[in-house]
Subunit: 217 residues, 4 copies
DNA sequence: TATGAATGAGATTTCATTCAT
DNA sequence: TATGAATGAAATCTCATTCAT
């Protein structure tokens, strides 16, 4: 009786388990929004999910698996957004492609931060299975998008790879507070801190035509 | 003689201290070449440098400071390489600039890995001083290079920012073994894994002219 | 079965936790019997208790807390002994009180050594809570004893304070090997090293009547 | 030239060395007045003495030796005071002896704190030589005093031993802030904190006659 | 399945002491 | 003799992960 409020209901069947995984993910998500990875402990996630630390490990083998899963979610959400945008309007020219891609990124700040993680932290402690699943997800969406854009998959792949690199690189260069300026720093930076979207748009607009041109050769 | 191996020479004057810092850095460097950050312990660095653990902390306050310092070294080495390359041959066109920059990166694999670190791990546990020093180094070299290239500093800054983003982004996409394919994976990637240098060259060649053109407007 | 030696049983409910605390205390106790405080490391305690170092810190915040707890135990044991002795025989005269107190100390060598610690080392690194708990223990027992002796609490308090001072002072003067005589010392001490019990008895026998007399005035 | 102000003059001959020892002792003394032993680092002593840490160790082998030396000084000063007091007025009765001893302690707070140290910390890390020297000092003064008081040395020895025990014990009970009451503690101690001098006087007054009487038996 | 105590590795700090210069 | 860098042991703390219940 007293236990009901203090203990979560046991997840017995697969659906309940999936539900539980999802709750954990949502908890991690909430914390991730305003906590950097290194300061975000499994303990906190457990507390936020109202579960015991050990329970987390029934659903995710490692901290990295948990965050890779989070990345999966966000990536899928973004892929969906991209596809929706393409469906909503004709996208054929290089400029249109660029615009759609740049616009699609706007609401996905968390994804951008997660992508940085992938490259460093998430490399380790990942089961081959999770890694395979991740690549499968990317491949599947890549394929769908290349069909929608009516481009050869190789070209789509390179475009998105460049986008990925730009997102990863520019995220850090523009938004991360890393090596930040102390409040009283006399040597203020002379140049504007570059804007994520502007620079990515500029770069993509320059790159995409080249990639599209290469296919014909 | 026998003593030589048992105790390091004491670093008394500033030069010797700098020397000792440098030795520690070299030890960290050797380990860094084949050990990921998270598996590289201060204990190991101490052993490799043939110093006591406590001594390390006389020279570097935290693990992060140590690696930021390593990044500093590599960055300076690269900046020097870039400047040497520019001196060695006329570099005026966008294509020439791109070629020089791309070529300069070739021997700096460690730098590329370190840059990834900066964006995630090195954000934390860094004294404002170290952060300031880091930015000063970047600024100084940026200034020098912009003079050599006879370009407005803002343009140089943006070019290098794009280079930075591309390095950061493409490093991960091409060389990192992250989310790697298990040996027995049936689903071999259909597309060639993109090549770091090729893609960066392609992108930079497309971007630099745009940036140089913007200045006149 | 084989597991029994590799991992301690987990302390889940409060009683088991108290049990675990007590085991740690017993381990500390065993070491304390033949190791001076400064040479007794938390590492050793952990090994002796067959626990990981970190586990110790789940139960005791600092080395000082651990030893204050040890003192608590011993003090309580002694207080209990005193009360049992008083119950066992009529104790009314000053002489009887003295005899009981002196006799009660005999088996508590560890307590005497701990009391010395209290005055120097244990002052530091103690949470207010622990300090309060310690004083509460003293007060409670003081109260009980004064009731048993049918003396005003103030008198009991002063008698025990003198006993405390004498124990602290004479412990050092008689048993401690401090500033000990080297084996080959020509200057043998001319006088007998005073005996702890004799001197305390002598002093207490002289003091107690005075204190008891003062109450009537 | 510049060195003169920044470096102490070299102590070459024995007098200069003694002088240097004395300076170190004075530095330690100044710090000891308001710093507990455990918080008083050799580094601080070195700074206070305007010497390098290593130099301290040319004059004192260990931290304990240094503080034993400090104790020596204070003890000698007190012995001298006692002897001066005895010379200044007739001291024959037990009461007079007690009064003189109690009065003599008044200005020697530092000594009282040092005596506590002796019993715990100073036991260790002491060369036999220092220990011998310490006992020699005690013996010499004991002898002188017993002559002045015209008492058998054994009796003087026991009286002073009791005094020592009382000082040690009551110092802790009355002055030390150990296990102190937090400011907002509701459970204020019901009884007055006993006064060092009052209690020692009371005890000594009761004990000395007994000891003096025993000699005749 | 759920729990949270236990683990153990590693980072960091402090400090008495040693030793090359 | 004087120096202060180097040592190394120990305390402390944090955290991902494991495992007995």
């Amino acid at each position: 009786m007293a236990t009901e409020s203090s203990r979560p209901i046991r997840a017995r069947n697969p659906e309940e388990k999936q539900q539980r995984r999802s709750e954990i993910l949502k908890a991690a998500e909430r914390l991730w929004e305003n906590t950097p990875y290194s300061e975000l402990s499994m303990n906190q996630v457990a507390r936020e999910a109202k579960l015991a630390k050990g329970t987390l490990y029934l659903y995710y083998d490692t901290k990295e698996e948990l965050f890779l899963s989070l990345l999966n979610e966000h990536l899928q959400a973004w892929f969906t957004d991209v596809q929706d945008l393409i469906k909503a309007q004709p996208v054929t020219s290089a400029a249109q492609i660029t615009d759609v891609l740049v616009a699609s990124l706007r609401p996905h700040l968390s994804l951008r931060r997660l992508i940085l993680l992938l490259s460093t932290v998430l490399e380790r402690n990942i089961k081959p299975d999770s890694s395979t699943e991740f690549r499968r997800l990317v491949r599947r969406n890549l394929h769908d998008i290349s069909q929608q854009l009516d481009l050869p998959p190789e070209v789509t792949f390179r475009i998105l790879s460049h986008l990925y690199a730009l997102v990863l690189g520019w995220h850090e260069a523009s938004e991360a507070k890393s090596i930040s300026y102390p409040a009283n720093d006399q040597e203020k930076p002379k140049y504007e801190r570059p804007d994520f979207e502007t620079e990515i748009a500029l770069a993509l607009r320059a790159i995409v035509p080249v990639l599209m041109a290469e296919q014909t050769s």
